[in-house]
């Protein structure tokens, strides 16, 4: 283990994962520093969602090591709850709890996991809902909100747990085009706050604006990893070029 491992938010070494006979992650090595913003892109089925879902152990890996803030995730995920305390996640399908109000969605885990008092949990929930500009909808149910609003609530819900790392799994892919911007703006302001972020997305404008590094994956492998300028202007790998020409020229 390297000396400055305490500076690493996430460390993945030789991670391999299979679904049955299909290998979906192939020898993934990835270091993420504290405060770093990473955009992960690649064709569908390339393993990018799977990769971030391994970090908070929503998926099990068969080989390799994953450490989060210096704590190594055990193979069977016995310390997954411990890791998850530091890692927030936002999903493509929002996954808000339909039977709870926006406010209750943001309070549940605080109350149950952090054992926060109701008043304190409500306070923090309202602060984060204000931060994502949706505090006035606190008493509504998810189904009464637009997709963009729901996704902002989902971001607030994750933030209520004071995560040090945020994982975004295609957060704008399920949104109508006119709602993409409000969610990206929220994520940009979050990035400005210095949190560690890994974001699976094809929003290349967002990548240019906030990413320290853009990583391109294909067929379970990390093909290319570069600063946004270099990544977009001068990709070194043929597959990256092919992918970029497809998503940038439509």
């Amino acid at each position: 283990m390297s000396v400055n491992s305490s500076q690493k938010a996430i460390e993945m070494v030789g991670v391999n994962k299979w679904y049955g006979p299909l290998q979906v992650l192939k020898g993934i090595d990835l270091d993420v520093s504290r405060g770093e913003h990473i955009v992960l892109c690649g064709p569908s089925g390339s393993g990018k969602s799977t990769l971030i879902r391994c970090i908070n152990h929503l998926e099990e890996i068969q080989q390799g090591r994953i450490s989060v803030n210096g704590t190594e995730l055990s193979q069977k995920g016995t310390n997954a709850d411990h890791i998850r305390r530091d890692v927030g996640m936002v999903f493509q399908q929002f996954n808000l709890f339909p039977h709870l109000t926006v406010l209750e969605n943001c309070m549940l885990a605080q109350r149950r996991v952090r054992k926060t008092s109701a008043a304190e949990a409500k306070d923090k929930a309202m602060r984060h809902l204000e931060r994502v500009h949706i505090a006035e909808q606190a008493q509504k149910y998810p189904a009464q909100l637009s997709g963009g609003q729901q996704q902002r609530v989902a971001i607030a819900r994750a933030l209520c747990m004071d995560p040090k790392i945020m994982l975004f799994d295609e957060p704008t892919s399920a949104l109508d085009p006119e709602m993409v911007k409000e969610v990206l703006d929220t994520m940009i302001s979050l990035a400005d706050g210095g949190i560690t972020m890994i974001c699976v997305t094809h929003e290349m404008g967002f990548a240019r604006a906030v990413a320290h590094r853009v990583i391109f994956m294909d067929r379970g492998e990390i093909i290319e990893s570069a600063k946004p300028d270099a990544f977009f202007s001068n990709p070194s790998h043929e597959r990256t070029r092919a992918f970029l020409s497809q998503i940038l020229n439509h």
Partner: protein, 222 residues
């Protein structure tokens, strides 16, 4: 046909019928509550990763759903004393109906739990919630909502089946009707009236359950 219809003895016996109605309501309601609770426990065992728990749950569910409820009632009332469990008619009735309702409820609720999108559970896990909390606070309510109509008809069916427990002298509606019949021999009038009362009771249960549903599941969905 020279039978002259006379409902006066039936109407005169209203205090007895009322006691019967209360008995039916009491035993059915308790069995519903206990049965649903038991059903949830067995549903969780049925879906558990522990083979032993799963096998016990499957065994119980299959046993109950593939034997007549009257046999179950007889077994509890007449059979259990052999192993030292001597119950009154009403206790035996509630126990048998709870066991019966639990098996059906377990399967119905399991359907509801399986209808919950995996993303809901993943969101709970990502927030660091324990499995028990995920079930209690995230899965439970939408799962019950999804199968609530099926659950309600099962409850009503059980209320109607409760007439069978008259055979172990549990003092419910049918038991009193039979008593009245043996005193007055007004079978036609008595059982016609009994049918009407059960019809009204089902309607009552149906309305009460849908009202509970409207309050408990009032959140909007798309």
């Amino acid at each position: 046909m020279n039978y002259s219809f006379d409902f006066t003895p039936v109407l005169a016996a209203w205090p007895m019928l009322l006691e019967g109605i209360l008995g039916t309501l009491r035993m059915s309601s308790l069995s519903m509550v206990f049965g649903l609770t038991l059903g949830i426990v067995f549903m969780m065992m049925r879906m558990s990763r522990q083979p032993v728990l799963r096998t016990i749950a499957i065994g119980y569910i299959e046993l109950i759903r593939n034997t007549p409820i009257l046999v179950q009632v007889f077994f509890v009332f007449f059979g259990m004393p052999a192993i030292g469990l001597r119950l009154s008619g009403e206790q035996a009735a509630i126990l048998a109906m709870t066991l019966n309702c639990g098996a059906y409820a377990a399967e119905i609720v399991r359907g509801g739990v399986q209808s919950i999108r995996p993303g809901q559970i993943e969101a709970g896990r990502a927030l660091g919630l324990h499995t028990a909390d995920i079930y209690r606070f995230i899965v439970f309510r939408p799962a019950i909502r999804a199968v609530y109509p099926a659950l309600c008809s099962q409850f009503i069916l059980m209320m109607l089946n409760s007439s069978l427990v008259s055979s172990v002298s549990a003092e419910e509606l049918t038991y009193f009707a039979q008593t009245l019949d043996s005193q007055t021999f007004r079978s036609f009038e008595i059982y016609l009236t009994l049918g009407v009362i059960y019809l009204v009771l089902s309607q009552f249960f149906s309305a009460a359950l849908s009202m509970i549903g409207r309050v408990y599941f009032s959140y909007p969905t798309k």
